[in-house]
């Protein structure tokens, strides 16, 4: 069952939402849609100008959004992200780990992959979410509720040649969500992994420059589906991994 728009707004209105990777693509679309449903949104991205523009556009249409320039791959940024976000919107009810990196492009065979690329992918795609969840999930457990969403990829389950650094990091991210879910079972804090499939984003264009864009999903449509999942997440077992392409397309 996909919840109706009003039901979505009932669940999300007034909630504190922190979305990483909010400067463009899926993260920006998710920020817009959460704000339209009444969430108080904090968007994080490395590039100040991009994330400011997204937050500014949300405020223009009457939503609440705050931009924060920070790098989830840097350990020292985690406390800053959690601190600023909770200073601005209060306790975080929804944390979306959307920021991700391919390691470097063009994608390479493992035999050609510099150590540094895997280190970068793990730092941004695994350590970053781990650190930020640690700073937010305890507060959620104290209040007895909260949802953390990991944005993952089918590269976490399929062994695609040249997607090594990224795929390994996303597989770790999936398992991280499962372990968080197991440890926080019964606390009211839930974790979901969401695979949006191949989307028409800058990241995808960097990974697969010659892709047929007509075959790629619209990030805004995937954001809509994620917001629907958030609204009915109580009915989804914590630790689940959900492929958005398999969800009904109907509103």
């Amino acid at each position: 069952m996909v919840p109706a728009k009003e039901e979505v707004a009932m669940v999300i209105r007034g909630k504190g939402a922190l979305v990483t990777g909010g400067g463009r693509g899926l993260g920006a679309a998710l920020g817009r849609r959460l704000a339209r449903s009444g969430a108080r949104v904090v968007l994080v991205a490395r590039t100040q100008g991009e994330v400011e523009a997204v937050a500014g556009a949300i405020r223009q249409e009457g939503g609440e959004a705050h931009a924060l320039a920070a790098d989830v791959g840097r350990g020292e940024d985690a406390a800053r992200i959690a601190g600023v976000a909770q200073a601005l919107v209060g306790p975080i009810d929804l944390l979306v780990h959307d920021a991700g990196t391919l390691g470097s492009v063009p994608l390479r065979l493992l035999l050609d992959t510099p150590d540094r690329d895997l280190e970068t992918a793990l730092a941004v795609n695994v350590l970053g979410p781990f650190r930020l969840s640690k700073l937010v999930a305890g507060a959620m457990a104290l209040r007895g509720e909260g949802l953390v969403v990991h944005v993952t990829s089918d590269a976490s389950v399929s062994a695609y040649p040249t997607w090594g650094a990224y795929g390994v990091s996303k597989a770790a991210l999936d398992h991280l969500a499962r372990i968080w879910a197991a440890e926080l079972e019964g606390s009211g804090v839930r974790f979901l992994s969401v695979d949006p499939g191949e989307m028409d984003t800058r990241m995808h264009a960097e990974a697969v420059p010659d892709a047929d864009r007509a075959m790629l999903a619209d990030p805004d449509e995937m954001a809509r589906r994620i917001v629907g999942l958030v609204a009915r997440s109580e009915s989804i077992p914590s630790g689940s991994r959900i492929e958005l392409a398999r969800l009904a397309e109907a509103a």
């Binding site: 601190g83 909770q86 200073a87 601005l88 700073l135 507060a139 104290l142 007895g144 606390s187």
Partner: protein, 359 residues
């Protein structure tokens, strides 16, 4: 009292001095033996305030100074304490005095922040309210870029913002870490919960522990703001009804709960408030039955507060034991548990096992 010189490598190894007012027993435990002291049904209340990077370097009238932010007011101004040139490496009482600023004077701070003095306390020229020029989003971004945790000379290495957060840190309201919660781990919390202990939170804007001005130091703690969630009001009421104890984790929690009760005819109320309550031997506690806190030196307001739980001779004896056994004081130090006579002057019913137990 020897001060702990920095964050502990292994949480749970802190020592715990357990003081029971009824039996006058003083017993030494390890912190991870805390479950022995609580009973099924007891309610543990923690302060979920995160610690701000409240210290900013700056200048005014061409003189270097340090601003330590205390708390944001509802109208967006900030209460703050000014310190003269230098930094935390110099004990506060040895720091030069800051310039005595007047209302309207500008203060230039790190990361390009600018503020104007809006008011000066009659207590001390160091206690001011500041109005920042930046909107709130930019203020917090700059504060977290340039601000440092408030720190004192007994900790030698510069503290990272992560060093001064408790496991419960949520909204950044505290000028200094509400340190009683710091040594707790989620593993210990889970064990307490399995033993039937309930958990709730208040947010209390813990202030500074030293200002460098003897007059202002004598007035500590200054009025502090707090926020009590409706869920905590219910949890305290339920604990009362089942005859279980309310255990405050930290003196700030005592201040929030007793401050709210004092302002609301003896019962705590949900929502925000400010308390000027100073607790001591003559305080009649209405809500809190027991306290988990740090090892506090005589002469501090924290130490005076212990008198609200145990007669001063017993509190002093406990402190002497802590001293003799080499317990460490200050924010990264060891812990003390004091269970007092039941709050509200009533007699406690036997705890009802299994009732109202959190997951």
């Amino acid at each position: 009292m020897t001060a702990a010189s920095g964050p502990r490598a292994r949480p749970g190894e802190e020592r715990l001095l357990a003081v029971d007012a009824a039996s006058e027993a003083v017993e030494e435990l390890r912190l991870d033996e805390l479950p022995r002291l609580v009973e099924p049904g007891d309610l543990l209340v923690v302060n979920d305030a995160a610690t701000l990077p409240a210290s900013l370097r700056g200048s005014a009238r061409g003189e270097a100074l340090e601003v330590r932010l205390l708390s944001e007011r509802d109208d967006g101004a900030w209460d703050a304490v000014l310190f003269g040139a230098g930094d935390w490496r110099t004990p506060t009482e040895l720091r030069p005095a800051p310039p005595a600023l007047l209302a309207g004077e500008p203060v230039d701070l790190a990361a390009g922040l600018r503020a104007a003095v809006e008011g000066v306390s009659p207590l001390s020229p160091r206690l001011v309210s500041l109005r920042f020029e930046s909107p709130r989003d930019a203020l917090f971004a700059a504060l977290y870029a340039a601000g440092r945790p408030v720190q004192y000379a007994h900790v030698r290495a510069p503290l990272d913002l992560r060093d001064v957060q408790t496991p419960f840190a949520t909204r950044p309201w505290a000028a200094e870490m509400p340190s009683a919660g710091r040594p707790l781990t989620w593993e210990l919390v889970a064990r307490l919960r399995r033993g039937g202990v309930a958990l709730a939170a208040v947010t209390h804007a813990a202030g500074l522990s030293a200002t460098g001005d003897p007059v202002l130091d004598a007035a500590l703690p200054l009025p502090e703001r707090f926020d009590i969630p409706a869920a905590t009001v219910s949890a305290v009421g339920a604990a009362r009804r089942r005859g279980a104890r309310v255990v405050a984790v930290g003196t700030t929690v005592v201040r929030a709960l007793e401050g709210s009760a004092a302002a609301n005819g003896g019962r705590i109320a949900g929502g925000r408030g400010t308390t000027e309550l100073r607790l001591g031997p003559t305080t009649r506690r209405r809500v809190v039955d027991a306290l988990l806190t740090g090892i506090h030196e005589p002469g501090t307001s924290h130490h005076a507060l212990l008198g609200a739980f145990a007669p001063p001779p017993l509190a002093d004896r406990a402190l002497a034991v802590a001293e003799e056994r080499g317990f460490l004081g200050h924010e990264f130090g060891d812990a003390m548990w004091i269970s007092g006579a039941p709050a509200g002057g009533g007699r406690r019913r036997a705890a009802a096992v299994g009732e109202g137990v959190a997951a």
